[in-house]
């Protein structure tokens, strides 16, 4: 009898555990990153507290990644249809600029300014969507056009400068920066949750339910999986795609409002290259760029993984240059793992 090689096949329990881990590898990766953070984190010199695990730090990660997270939510909808939305960073900039302009230069009520900013973002998304579904443009090209145009509009509104309190004489209609900026970024009722973070978590939760439990969500998967089969099954392909891009625009608009509040000015350059971080979060989560596979929960995990990884690297003193390099490596690693699973 030939000597039996020791392989994974001979140890079914381990194989099963690995298979289970493979299915939940987004969660596994998040746990690994989290534990890594706890281990390598420096400790507070006075109290000896682990900096990474401190509630303040945890709350900061969510706060700082809320904008990327919002973009990633919209991006997931679009990527599920096998599309891509390159315009989200620019739309964020447009929305942030418009919001700040309406508040500071026009003295609008915050809710009205926010509503118009969200509408502007949604409008940008719907434009991309119509270009894709009606004019049959490649999503890459259509959203590239929107990306350039939205940036232009943002600069037009602001006259090319950051819209901040007192930036121009007539911007000083109010005393100090608008109150809403401070309100949005301050912890609620003594807790650690800030309204900006809440926007992100709420949008994520709502869209997760939409994607997994509604007809619209099912249609997204069907279109991304096989557009012609979906059309022949009565799926309204054009409408669904347009809506997906529109919602992506809405998320970018909301991220823009959050951005203005966080920075307390309206920067027409805001959101530059954010679309790449959003795509990275989606891909690291495990949603396929080919469409039809993935989901919102995965994107949530992906966003946290990127957010934590970035935080850990800055805690251990890496500079931005090194952090970017590391992020590139993480993306490659995530995709490689994703691909090996499929074989």
């Amino acid at each position: 009898m030939p000597e039996r090689l020791w392989t994974l096949a001979t140890w079914p329990r381990l194989r099963k555990a690995l298979a289970a881990a493979g299915r939940q590898r987004g969660l596994v990766a998040l746990v690994v990153v989290f534990l890594l953070g706890a281990v390598v984190s420096p400790h507070n010199l006075k109290t000896g507290e682990n900096v990474f695990l401190s509630p303040g730090n945890q709350s900061n990660v969510l706060f700082e990644y809320a904008e990327y997270g919002l973009l990633a939510v919209g991006m997931t909808l679009v990527i599920l249809t096998a599309g891509i939305d390159l315009s989200v960073g620019s739309v964020l900039g447009l929305s942030a600029t418009l919001f700040a302009y309406l508040l500071i230069a026009r003295g609008w009520a915050p809710w009205l300014a926010a509503a118009l900013s969200l509408a502007a973002g949604t409008g940008c998304g719907l434009m991309s969507g119509l270009m894709v579904s009606r004019l049959r443009m490649q999503p890459f090209v259509a959203t590239l056009a929107t990306m350039v145009a939205a940036r232009g509009v943002a600069k037009w509104i602001s006259g090319g400068i950051k819209i901040a309190d007192g930036a121009r004489p007539w911007y000083a209609l109010q005393q100090g920066p608008p109150e809403v900026f401070g309100w949005m970024t301050a912890p609620l009722a003594g807790g650690w949750l800030r309204p900006v973070t809440l926007c992100f978590l709420a949008a994520m939760a709502v869209m997760a339910l939409v994607v997994h439990y509604t007809r619209f969500g099912r249609h997204l998967y069907a279109i991304g999986g096989n557009e012609e089969a979906a059309r022949l099954s009565g799926v309204p392909v054009g409408f669904t795609k347009t809506l997906a891009y529109g919602l992506s625009g809405l998320m970018a608009g909301l991220a823009g409002v959050c951005n203005a509040c966080r920075t307390s000015y309206g920067d027409p350059e805001a959101g530059f290259t954010y679309e790449l971080d959003a795509i990275a979060a989606v891909v690291i989560g495990g949603t396929s760029l080919m469409g039809g596979r993935g989901g919102m929960v995965l994107t949530f995990l992906g966003t946290l993984i990127v957010g934590y990884a970035n935080k850990i690297l800055s805690l251990i003193g890496w500079q931005e240059a090194q952090r970017l390099l590391a992020k590139g490596l993480i993306i490659v690693l995530a995709v490689v793992i994703q691909e090996t699973r499929r074989r």
């Binding site: 439990y213 069907a222 012609e228 979906a230 009565g234 799926v235 039809g292």
Partner: protein, 518 residues
């Protein structure tokens, strides 16, 4: 056990290939349970079995695309490992898949020598030499082509020949063909058979996978039958009666191959008058030219025609695939209707089972359940929210009635065998409760057992009072199942035959009619 050893008859020539005890499991499902396969040098060896029997898995292991969990492969008497398709090719084993693997926009010569182009100094491809060799290869298959033109310019039959030439360019001594005739016309099939016999004469061995019994008996020397991942037996086809072969495959006798029930036709459910569709490329060519026909409740109307006859396009036009480009009058259920989208067609009670389940029928990354309910989300959703309990309630009876074999309704539909995929595609449309079913090649590429089940189902649907329009390239199937047959040629109706006048000869005559005149 059920293993039948007609293979006691000694193998005529020395074995070229001998696979022993091949096992393979995917996750929880076992695809192969210790299969033996012995191929003699220079024979044409048929490999048959129902979908999911393990044929494809076995052949993918042979061609290096999959690694077996256990078992050994002896090639020309020596044990070999075939870890990659390249290794298999290097040994002389080539595989031609059912879905051809040619690159449409690349030239014939480029496709044949893809990946092993003759190279000169500095790695520059010797285009002239490559073209000459490609032309020689195609000529040796007595196929006339311009090897510099892209393969997409040629018919599927010719493309099949390019695949064969590609295999020969690797000096393959064993070629595996997986259902090569599933989309070929009769003349092309005859041509392919000639070439295969010629290959045998040149000492090339062929493993031929097919679901068509006639082909196995016409072409093969010996045949091996697989069922549920086991080898049931190997025998010379001359010693194996057809009925027994089918019994080996399905493990039971099939009483009535075509279970055609006589149904008294009811009211007209579909009426088409003067349906016309111009070619998208203009030039005055018409894909459909004044087609008229009608289907009554309980009736199965067959559409016959060679490729390019417009039969598939007729179904597409009725189902709104061509938007507003279609002219003519369509009545569904006695009412005039204009259908400009699939969604509108569905609202009128039409269903279209397309001829290509992978490209246009199923959403492969989605689950069995989600595919089944895709066309009926109105029935399972309230205010846009899908209720899973409702989905399961609609899907489970269909899974049972159609005997869809899957570990669960939540597995990806791509993990099912071809026949089961087809049943899922059909289940999707049954769930939508259509009045008229347009069935385009409902039995293409599926095994005998599943075919019979689908015929039964069609009879049942007709008996329920639904109208059925049926396309199938297998003429006996069409003659047996259809109450009437409408023959198309170049977008025009050339005959409408029913009862005793519907014979194979008359259908063929009408299908090629104008080609003879012109």
């Amino acid at each position: 056990m059920s293993m039948r050893e007609s293979s006691d008859t000694p193998t005529p020539r020395r074995p070229l290939l001998s696979m022993r005890g091949i096992r393979k499991a995917f996750g929880g499902t076992t695809a192969l349970r210790g299969v033996d396969l012995e191929i003699a040098e220079g024979e044409i060896h048929g490999l048959v079995g129902e979908n999911g029997a393990g044929k494809s898995t076995l052949m993918r292991i042979l061609s290096g695309a999959l690694a077996p969990d256990a078992g050994s492969i002896a090639w020309r008497g020596e044990e070999v490992r075939l870890p990659t398709p390249q290794a298999a090719l290097a040994a002389g084993i080539a595989m031609i898949h059912q879905e051809l693997s040619l690159i449409p926009s690349v030239s014939v010569a480029g496709n044949i020598f893809l990946g092993h182009e003759p190279r000169g100094r500095f790695g520059v491809v010797k285009v002239g030499l490559m073209r000459r060799r490609a032309a020689d290869l195609m000529a040796s298959l007595s196929t006339e082509v311009d090897v510099t033109r892209p393969v997409e310019d040629y018919s599927l039959g010719t493309q099949q020949m390019v695949e064969v030439a590609k295999a020969l360019s690797h000096s393959a001594s064993l070629i595996v063909m997986d259902e090569p005739t599933s989309s070929l016309e009769e003349a092309e099939t005859a041509k392919l058979f000639e070439v295969i016999r010629d290959l045998r004469a040149r000492g090339v061995t062929v493993i031929y996978i097919s679901h068509k019994m006639e082909e196995i008996y016409e072409l093969c020397d010996r045949v091996t039958v697989l069922r549920d991942g086991e080898r049931i037996g190997t025998a010379a086809v001359s010693e194996l009666p057809r009925e027994e072969l089918i019994q080996w495959m399905v493990g039971r006798r099939i009483e009535q191959f075509f279970p055609k029930a006589r149904v008294k036709p009811g009211a007209e459910v579909l009426r088409v008058e003067g349906l016309t569709l111009d070619s998208e490329h203009g030039g005055g060519r018409r894909i459909l030219d004044g087609v008229s026909l009608s289907v009554r409740a309980g009736e199965i109307v067959g559409l016959a025609g060679l490729r390019g006859s417009g039969a598939s396009e007729l179904m597409g036009a009725l189902f709104g695939r061509y938007g507003g480009r279609v002219r003519g009058r369509v009545q569904i259920g006695g009412k005039d209707t204009v259908v400009t989208s699939p969604a509108a067609a569905m609202a009128q009670g039409l269903a279209l089972l397309t001829d290509d389940r992978k490209a246009t029928g199923l959403v492969l990354p989605m689950s069995v359940l989600h595919n089944m309910t895709l066309a009926s989300l109105d029935r399972v959703a309230r205010a846009g929210v899908i209720r899973r309990s409702q989905e399961l309630q609609l899907a489970q009876p269909l899974v049972r009635n159609l005997a869809i074999r899957a570990d669960s309704v939540d597995v990806e539909v791509s993990s099912l065998s071809g026949g089961n995929q087809q049943k899922v595609a059909l289940a999707k449309w049954l769930m939508a409760q259509p009045r008229v079913l347009l069935l385009d090649e409902p039995t293409r590429g599926i095994d005998v057992g599943a075919k019979t089940e689908i015929y039964h189902l069609m009879s049942r649907l007709a008996a329920e009072g639904r109208g059925i329009l049926l396309i199938t390239s297998e003429l006996p199937e069409l003659l047996a199942m259809a109450d009437r047959i409408v023959v198309l040629h170049r977008g025009r109706v050339t005959a409408e035959l029913s009862g005793p006048e519907a014979t194979q000869e008359r259908v063929m005559a009408a299908a090629v009619q104008e080609a003879r005149c012109a």
